[in-house]
Symmetry: C2
Subunit: 140 residues, 2 copies
């Protein structure tokens, strides 16, 4: 059996440097999914993508609503699945650093500097309008 996570457990789980699976609907109406970095801050997800050279970014033009899954492969299984419509924002070095250095300080800094030169690089900010959680370890 699984229980929902408490708000504190959600924050702790999403603070770990996991990848999310970021699912969009393509221009033909088919599902697409990609692993993506994220940052969870004050009840919102932040992502970064490119609106021209990345499928994920292009899909948002025609289908702005997305689904995001963050799941543990280690037991007990835990997962957070969110839906929402991200706001597409101009890139910002501080926020690119905040996202990328979660996954490695030095590599994140290098990546952020390079990404600031990409004309189509954007930030996505998403407050979930639905958030479903599972924790298979909280009961048993």
């Amino acid at each position: 059996m699984s229980d929902a996570m408490t708000p504190e457990a959600i924050d702790a789980f999403l603070h770990e440097p996991r990848l999310c699976a970021f699912a969009t609907v393509d221009v033909e109406g088919n599902a697409r999914v990609r692993p993506l970095w994220y940052l969870w801050q004050n009840g919102e997800f932040w992502f970064t993508t490119r609106t021209a050279v990345r499928h994920t970014g292009r899909d948002l033009r025609t289908h702005p609503r997305v689904a995001v899954s963050v799941a543990s492969e280690d037991r007990p299984y835990r997962a957070v699945v969110a839906h929402g419509t991200p706001a597409v924002l101009d890139k910002d070095l501080d926020m690119l650093l905040a996202i990328s250095t979660r996954y490695g300080e030095e590599s994140g800094r290098r990546w952020s500097q390079a990404s600031m030169t990409e004309a189509d690089r954007v930030l996505l900010r998403m407050r979930p309008d639905s958030l479903v959680t599972w924790d298979y370890g909280s009961s048993a």
Copy 2:
């Protein structure tokens, strides 16, 4: 930079007991994604879901085409993203065991026995019509 994986590297990567992110399109045309067990065998994915009590299974009725991502959270990042239209097949104890015991022998056996009693439990068999891979460790 990333390279594509060799067929042997794909088989080895997908043989590990990772979760996949299984993305569908819901009846309203929005993206949905869930963590899901899978088995990769002879160039095909096997999954299991329920066609009535699981969103994932219900979505297949109206949008049978899906997207699947398997990604490593450990460095170097590697990922396999596949698209296809799974065949929905009657459940079968041997195949439920083959999928579930990848993730734990004893728990998989218990889970499979219980799942055989679920009227809407099915198997999904998917030969990808597209398979994209990334390996950020093969070059550098």
